[in-house]
Point group: C2
Chain length 328, copies 2
């Protein structure tokens, strides 16, 4: 079924206010959750909302806590997320990186001690909306084996890059695993195979069977050794820039909290001017579009779903939608 953007946002908002968030914070989180669902990122819209609510209820997330800048070195700052709302902390951190970029060309914030930011790409879009190139990444708990090992020991550490464009921003939002656990679970339920091998079975053979990968816990990093190495680098970068925990320390806590993140903004619009920026970006987009209908520039799929959602209503699972209404 479909509901309107505003209807969905109001429902999120009511539930968040009831959970104890201030009016401003509820509004921001409701906006982000609704945009995630509207853009087709269903894994981090309605689907993830109950887990946020339960972490608020359990006290793991402190809805009143304010992130704080604890150290600055020129355009680089360290912020302590104080175990507050992951989305609020992320929005403040990218907002601060943008503010520094507007003044000095580029800004960087390392954020420690924060919670799940839901959809990574949201903060790339935040930078692009401000005319900035955005880059951000987070570490996670252990989710896959490093190349050469069998046991889970590294995160899938989603990384985002965004480039502003009047006709729709370019956005890359990708985890270092070839498929997310959520994707594997959905395909297993449907009895479908993966289109391409996504991990190993328990005998150590590459497989397209999502159930076999969930059993072995051996999801494949993108590009085998390359994605494994990139995941390690992103983890260390996030930890060292923020002064926070790295993946194996997060895993040692038993559940995923107090993660480390990095936010970078670069004011490309002031650097080259809006006209030149559009020309360079559109040049590449047009060249890709000439390659055929099946070729998409990063962000094209999101834009198509967003337009459809705004015209026809946002797709929601009926059960999840009814659950949300009950929370409000």
């Amino acid at each position: 079924m479909r509901v309107s953007f505003d209807e969905l946002k109001d429902a999120f908002d009511k539930a968040l206010v009831k959970a104890g968030l201030s009016e401003d914070r509820a509004k921001l989180c409701a906006q982000l959750f609704t945009e995630n669902q509207c853009d087709g990122v269903y894994s981090h819209g309605l689907n993830r909302f109950p887990s946020l609510m339960s972490h608020i209820a359990s006290g793991q997330i402190d809805v009143h806590s304010e992130p704080e800048c604890t150290k600055a070195l020129g355009v680089v700052e360290q912020w302590d997320g104080k175990m507050g709302l992951g989305q609020v902390n992320a929005h403040v951190a990218m907002g601060r990186a943008i503010e520094v970029a507007k003044e000095h060309g580029m800004g960087c914030v390392g954020l420690s001690n924060t919670n799940h930011w839901m959809r990574a790409g949201a903060y790339g879009l935040q930078a692009a909306d401000a005319g900035c190139i955005g880059m951000c990444w987070t570490n996670t708990t252990v989710l896959m084996p490093p190349w050469g090992a069998e046991g889970k020991r590294i995160g899938n550490n989603p990384m985002v890059m965004s480039i502003p464009r009047d006709g729709g921003h370019l956005l890359l939002d990708m985890a270092m695993s070839q498929y997310s656990n959520g994707k594997l679970e959905i395909l297993k339920q449907r009895g479908e195979d993966l289109p391409l091998a996504g991990g190993y079975d328990s005998e150590g053979n590459l497989t397209c069977d999502p159930g076999a990968i969930l059993d072995s816990k051996r999801a494949l990093p993108i590009g085998y050794w390359k994605g494994s190495a990139l995941a390690v680098m992103l983890d260390v970068l996030a930890a060292v820039i923020s002064g926070g925990l790295s993946t194996h320390q997060i895993a040692a806590q038993g559940s995923e909290y107090a993660v480390s993140q990095t936010y970078i903004a670069l004011d490309v619009t002031s650097l080259v001017g809006q006209g030149v920026r559009e020309q360079i970006v559109n040049n590449v987009v047009n060249d890709l579009q000439e390659a055929g209908e099946d070729v998409r520039y990063p962000g094209a799929g999101m834009l198509r779903i967003r337009e459809e959602s705004l015209e026809l209503g946002v797709v929601v699972d009926e059960g999840q939608w009814n659950d949300l209404l009950k929370m409000g």
Copy 2:
């Protein structure tokens, strides 16, 4: 066969001086080529040297040209490489990013109109040697199809991340193709298959046969659609930050020159102090080493080969070595 580091460096130096480089520039390029070979990056040591020499001889590379800062916005600068030596331009650009980082925490240089920088990782090591996190990437001519297409249209756009560490820097140096053309050619000559599928054959099937991939020109991006999207983002970022050419414009020239690059340095040692930095980085390295002998942190392989090269001499191909001596 093996030759000593200094012997190899002297031979590169003589050949470069004879090709018309100033004493300083010959020394820098000889040092970089020798380090590449010493670290086991044989694809960008002796192996690539003749191609540099022929580009100098043909006048594509101007050995006297000086890169120039053409625009600055706070900590972000645009430099024109003026079709000079790729290694010299890269070294100047990362050097400038480091200089800005030492003053303002972070620095970024976009470099347009430059030539092949040989080993990408060299400039990551340069940042790490200065106590900085380094990030840099380059675009290239068209080398693989974007996901969903059959014809070559995007670059393999190597990307580097480095993190300083007293016991040996962490270094990621990776192209967006699963295997380089050089690797495919070497394995084809030896009659060996790839360990994992590296592209499509002419009928559109994934294959481990390097010859079939070279014939179809359909090398596989790391992580399929993910590496394809990352390659596109790196291309646009390099072009828009430097104001230079993007991959399809480079390809339209007929041969690969006037590429665009991005250099970022972040002075992490001043940010957190050397002791804290070592502790955070070593924590992750130690955790990976516990996973078993086959698990390597990014940069571990390089360090092992470097130590062996410095102890026993640098491995050289006898034919390539004799050719180098003749050039001096």
